[in-house]
């Protein structure tokens, strides 16, 4: 597979400078799905978080409650639901946290695990790469670097290669 064929999802930045991704969410009926602009929040360990009022029309399967730990160390309680998130042709099920107040739609670290994606981000752009493809690419690059860079014992003189960083 060439580099141009690597499956990836491209996001954008909103007016506040947060990385966002267009996703569709639904519960038991795909006809109820709706598109949202979700913020990619790596400080959130869960799959998806959204306001409960936005969730009602989506026919999510309400499952119960859970406890979350906030940034200040305090606890907060949330409803949980099971729901589908669809991006392009990829459709996955995860635990959705429902907020009773106003909030953004957030996707977190569990989202990357469930969708098997690796986040690559700069200040200008970000993409969610297929993790398996990325790991193969990293492995290949690592093998290439081993072959190309002289052993450290031979690289102490002037003009030697720069220190190698394992990735």
């Amino acid at each position: 597979m060439s580099a141009t064929q690597v499956p990836h999802l491209t996001g954008s930045f909103n007016s506040a400078g947060s990385p966002t991704l267009k996703i569709s969410i639904y519960g038991v009926l795909e006809q109820a799905k709706k598109e949202f602009e979700a913020i990619v929040d790596t400080g959130f360990s869960g799959f998806l978080s959204m306001p409960i009022v936005e969730a009602f029309p989506l026919a999510l399967v309400l499952t119960g409650t859970t406890t979350t730990i906030l940034a200040d160390g305090s606890q907060s309680f949330k409803f949980t639901a099971l729901g589908h998130v669809k991006i392009a042709d990829q459709d996955e099920v995860g635990v959705i946290l429902l907020n009773t107040g106003q909030s953004d739609v957030l996707v977190g670290m569990e989202f990357l695990r469930v969708f098997k994606r690796t986040l690559i981000m700069s200040h200008r752009a970000f993409v969610l790469m297929d993790t398996e493809t990325m790991e193969k690419a990293w492995h290949s690059l690592s093998e290439f670097m081993k072959d190309e860079v002289p052993p450290e014992s031979d690289s102490t003189g002037p003009g030697s290669a720069p220190p190698r960083t394992d990735i």
Partner: protein, 95 residues
Amino acid sequence: MTDMSLSLSNPKAVVEAGERIYKEKYQREFEAAHLGKFAVIEVKTAKAYLGDTPEDAFENGRKGTPEGVFHLIKVGSPGAYRVSYAGSASDWLFQ
């Protein structure tokens, strides 16, 4: 102790029951053997279902108790999830 009257129309009671059942019946055993895994407590029957992920725990819970009301816990953690924002009084349903 079981409480068949619990429902999601009283989410605060579900949270309290889930946390209490976990502490009384499962916490010691789970933290010794299943640290880092997820558990759902079915609050009407006081049964617990484990999984490597939250989705697995809910799937196991719904297989065991299809009409169950569950409270999700991460074994060994004070909360199942961490969120990056600070607290607010917005969760009025749980107060």
